[in-house]
């Protein structure tokens, strides 16, 4: 990080109104707090333009002369929301903040030099001799440029000759990028350490969980230990890198609002229209507008999880060597703290966040969390009551509590579940978590079992009741726990059925290679 500041120019049109322009071209230190995209759900981060945002806090040291000065900030993230910028540390505060978006560009130059003198250069293709000529821009940049020379009026580049314009300088109100500046006043020349805080789009993060299920305990049915590991995956879709940044991520749902209309950048290429300069047969009778076909979107970059899965596939090649693989060993783990009703994850060491880059830091390392393996189904589909044998869902249920091996805030994110096999750990299921607070239940449906199946059969029906049968078959060589949810009002009080959160639920253990059957009756509404 360098603290480079340059006093670019001071102009003193009149003694009373000297205004110095100070350019601060890079921050000395930067903090980056990344917020997740809202409503992204289970979809991965878009690496080309991440839809979350970040709060960026920079410190910059500048020399301020006495009097009024304009401080221009360069090297900020291009997704900056200028209305969110806060500048503190100036001796007499900020009089006004400006974000200027008149861009230094071919059309911007013509616009700025309209009715002013430029130099027109024409190079003779045969001799290579360049002829200079003074010209005044009479019209432009919309629809072409008309120049007035000593000979008369002509249109720029409608002649077929190599022509270009030279401008006397850079108009001071044009800038290479939309630029934030503040106007401040100081009684004396001084050095100030400024803090610039702003929000910017083009960032995102999410938690990516890697869960390793350990073999179950023979004595307790369906009890599993899971090594839970989570990456904090952060993406910067902008063109600005952040060197040695304090990096943080916020979990939770801060409210965001639609932004009001913004000042639109002006400038761009110079589109020169002429009277027809082609040969006659090329002249389109109605030229119309030519719309550039946008380039096809770049193929999505592979997400980090895919790379991770690849590594595991490599592991399978040396299957004998690694029958069991532990979760990744993390040397640096993000610290978690509370921020009001949000959760803040702080990367303990400064890191560099590259432009158009994705970064992963460990955020959760919890080996040996206790989970129950349960086979579940919710029998609420009328079309499936014909006795068809359907696979049941595999559910891992835990609780986010210390005594269960967890007890920490768990931000939402996808979960990859690995189980050990003869060939090393293999991907055994995928799921996703929503934000889980301490004390919340954690349920991950990781797949469906072809070994544990259920069938619903409608046995009889009268105007008052429907009688159903649920058969469960277990083809596994170990007993399994099953839960069947029946989200209807039941007749009577069947003794094997208890209400869980208002939903009648049958909980049972099916013996190894065994079967079980439940009968129940639904109450029908009399009209």
């Amino acid at each position: 990080m360098r603290a480079l500041l340059a006093l670019v120019w001071i102009y003193a049109a009149t003694p009373v109104a000297a205004q110095s322009i100070i350019v601060s071209d890079a921050p000395e230190s930067v903090s980056l707090t990344v917020y997740r995209a809202q409503d992204r759900g289970d979809r991965p981060i878009d690496p080309n333009w991440p839809r979350g945002y970040a709060l960026i806090t920079e410190t910059r040291t500048i020399s301020i002369p006495a009097g009024e000065s304009v401080i221009r900030f360069e090297g900020v993230a291009e997704g900056m929301f200028p209305e969110s910028a806060i500048v503190t540390g100036l001796p007499q505060g900020v009089r006004e903040k400006n974000r200027d978006a008149r861009l230094l560009s071919p059309s911007g130059l013509v616009d700025a030099f309209l009715k002013r003198e430029v130099t027109l250069l024409r190079t003779n293709r045969a001799t290579g001799v360049t002829r200079e000529q003074k010209a005044i821009i009479t019209a432009g940049p919309q629809g072409g440029v008309i120049l007035q020379t000593a000979e008369g009026y002509e249109a720029l580049r409608c002649t077929g000759l190599p022509e270009r314009m030279q401008f006397g300088g850079v108009p001071q109100n044009l800038s290479a990028k939309p630029t934030l500046s503040v106007i401040t006043q100081s009684n004396e020349a001084t050095t100030a350490k400024l803090t610039l805080t702003y929000m910017a789009s083009g960032f995102d993060w999410q938690a990516n969980y890697v869960a390793h299920a350990k073999p179950g305990d023979d004595k307790a049915i369906g009890k599993n230990k899971i090594d839970l590991f989570a990456w904090l995956t952060l993406a910067n879709g902008g063109n600005q890198s952040f060197q040695n940044a304090n990096m943080m991520a916020i979990a939770g749902e801060p409210n965001r609002e639609r932004r009001p209309e913004q000042a639109r950048p002006v400038g761009g290429g110079l589109s020169l229209a002429c009277w027809p300069q082609q040969r006659t047969h090329q002249v389109p009778f109605n030229p119309g507008f030519i719309v550039d076909i946008p380039p096809p979107p770049a193929p999505p970059a592979p997400v980090a999880m895919a790379a991770y899965a690849d590594e595991n596939i490599v592991v399978t090649g040396q299957r004998m060597a690694r029958a069991e693989m532990a979760a990744p060993v993390a040397v640096m783990v993000a610290d978690q703290e509370d921020l009001g009703d949000l959760k803040l994850y702080r990367v303990p060491e400064p890191v560099t966040v590259n432009a158009k880059g994705q970064k992963q830091v460990a955020m959760i390392v919890k080996p040996g969390a206790a989970f129950d393996r349960i086979y579940t189904v919710r029998v609420d589909e009328y079309g499936r009551d014909d006795g068809a044998r359907m696979p049941m869902s595999i559910l891992f249920r835990g609780s986010n509590r210390k005594e269960k091996g967890l007890g920490l805030p768990m931000p939402s994110g996808p979960v990859m579940l690995f189980e050990n096999s003869y060939y090393g750990p293999l991907l055994a299921g995928q799921s996703s978590l929503s934000d889980r607070a301490v004390g919340d239940d954690i349920e991950m449906v990781v797949g469906r079992s072809s070994d544990v199946r259920y069938a619903v059969t409608r046995m009889s029906e009268t105007v008052e009741k429907q009688r159903f049968k649920v058969d469960i078959t277990n083809a596994r060589s170990e007993p399994v726990n099953v839960e069947v949810e029946i989200p209807f009002e039941l007749r009577g009080k069947p003794k094997h059925i208890a209400k869980v959160d208002g939903i009648p639920t049958w909980k049972a253990t099916i013996a190894a290679n065994g079967e079980a059957t439940l009968y129940y009756e639904l109450e029908l509404e009399k009209n």
Binding site: R95, D100, A112, A139, V145, E257, E261, W275, G439, G502
Partner: protein
């Protein structure tokens, strides 16, 4: 800025000089034909520009052009006033000068062609007459008829003049009768493309239960024109006919729901009818494509408190969902921000463990009178959740049902919280026949309970509703 200062210094438009540049080139960007400009910006996309220029006019009838007016000027709203001035007519010409237009208007006229020999570079001047410009340009050169550049060789076309009614920019011109001499004339017009909003920076201190609020007016200029050294006046409100007597809340005119109780206090800010005025303290230049922010409010340590709210729309079983985090404060003179707040966006920050401010959420607020009780929803609480369970549903008759609801509150924070639970969808005819704690029927449709949830604990509320369905 600079150009404006120059005007103040006596109107001498010296070309500014780059101090670092030895060759001293003239760089544009400053000179403007505008005079003493006053810009009044409303919040409905209209702005009023008043521009007083000192014009030197001949006695009698003359045509005066007014460059540097808004590129989006609503020409029909232009008014020109000044001592001894009578208006004959006003014209707004937007036929722009382009190469194609120049050629079209040159039909029937003589131009000069300069042909360049590609092998030698030698130039030959030929007079020609433009006969037509339909797709290609048909010329008469001597006694021959040909099409311009049909051979693809370089030809310069030199025009003697440009047509008088074609301009580089849309131009306002006024034909008037004057007594002559230097006359101060005031040009007044409306233009779209300027707008303003407010942005509030709110720093919440959870330990002290206070907020520091800074208010900034944020104005944007998309008119295509700079307004130099202008007096700027912002009008908080939307003078746009209103909605008659009925006042709908519509998607394009929404209520932000941030005012709990509208205030009845008045501040000593200037007013225009029912609208508040925010004059900027100093003259400023509003450049095109610029967003400008100027501070108008700075309050330290106003009392504020955090609260939790949860709304349940209908009697249904739902998984645990986060309660909203809400910040409550007042705009009252005593114990509040002590000002009315123009509509805008309030961003709330909180200090992390290292003391650095972090963003915790934002909310739109509508124009809020002084003395109002406000609640700003900043986001969803990670640790405070509500689960709703339909525990029992009993049918008493074909048009009478009893629904027993259980609301489970969980709090993973290490401090007790109170959640304001609102149950909606009661339609006026739903009765509450049992409840584990007394609620408040705030309207026919809605009942509210304040439920205390212990630190790292749970709380349960049950209520039985008697309804027709």
């Amino acid at each position: 800025m600079r150009a404006a200062w120059l005007l103040l210094a006596g109107g001498a438009l010296a070309a500014p000089i780059l101090a670092q540049d030895a060759t001293s080139v003239a760089v544009p960007g400053g000179a403007t034909a505008q005079g003493d400009v006053a810009v009044t910006i409303y919040q409905n996309g209209q702005s009023l520009i008043q521009d007083t220029r000192r014009l030197t006019m001949p006695a009698g009838r003359s045509k005066q052009e007014f460059p540097d007016v808004s590129a989006q000027i609503r020409a029909e709203t232009v008014t020109l006033t000044g001592p001894g001035i009578g208006i004959v007519e006003q014209n707004f010409d937007y036929d722009l000068l382009t190469p194609a237009k120049l050629m079209e208007k040159a039909v029937g006229q003589n131009v000069t062609l300069i042909r360049t020999n590609p092998a030698t570079g030698a130039e030959v001047r030929v007079p020609a007459k433009v006969l037509a410009a339909n797709g290609g340009v048909v010329l008469q050169v001597g006694n021959t008829i040909e099409v311009l550049r049909d051979d693809g060789l370089p030809v310069r076309v030199i025009f003697d003049k440009v047509p008088p009614n074609l301009r580089a920019r849309p131009t306002l011109s006024v034909t008037l009768e004057a007594k002559g001499g230097v006359t101060p004339t005031t040009l007044t017009y409306l233009t779209p493309g300027l707008g303003w909003n407010s942005d509030y920076v709110t720093l919440f201190d959870d330990a002290k239960q206070t907020i520091d609020v800074q208010g900034w007016v944020t104005l944007t200029n998309n008119t295509g024109t700079d307004y130099s050294n202008a007096n700027v006046l912002l009008v908080a409100g939307n003078p746009n006919g209103g909605g008659g007597r009925r006042n709908y809340t519509t998607p394009w005119n929404p209520s932000t729901g941030t005012i709990d109780q509208p205030g009845t206090e008045s501040s000593n800010r200037e007013r225009l009818g029912d609208y508040y005025l925010y004059p900027l303290a100093e003259r400023t230049t509003i450049a095109n494509a610029q967003q400008k922010q100027v501070s108008f409010l700075d309050v330290k340590a106003a009392p504020a408190r955090k609260a939790y709210e949860f709304n349940n729309g209908w009697l249904a079983t739902n998984d645990a969902a986060s309660a909203s985090s809400v910040l409550k404060f007042s705009t009252s003179r005593s114990g509040g921000l002590g000002d009315q707040l123009p509509a805008g966006t309030m961003r709330v920050y909180m200090r992390d463990k290292r003391g650095d401010p972090q963003f915790i959420g934002e909310s739109m607020i509508e124009a809020t009178p002084m003395g109002s009780a406000m609640s700003i929803r900043t986001g969803d609480a990670f640790d405070v959740k509500v689960k709703t369970v339909v525990e029992e549903r009993n049918r008493l008759s074909s048009s009478r049902w009893q629904t027993k609801m259980r609301y489970e509150f969980t709090n993973a924070r290490n401090e007790p919280v109170t959640v304001d639970l609102g149950q909606e969808g009661l339609w006026g005819d739903v009765a509450i026949i049992a409840q584990s704690q007394e609620g408040k029927r705030v309207s026919a449709d809605r009942v509210e309970w304040s439920v205390a949830v212990p630190a790292n604990g749970k709380a349960t509320l049950t209520a039985t509703f008697d309804s027709r369905y």
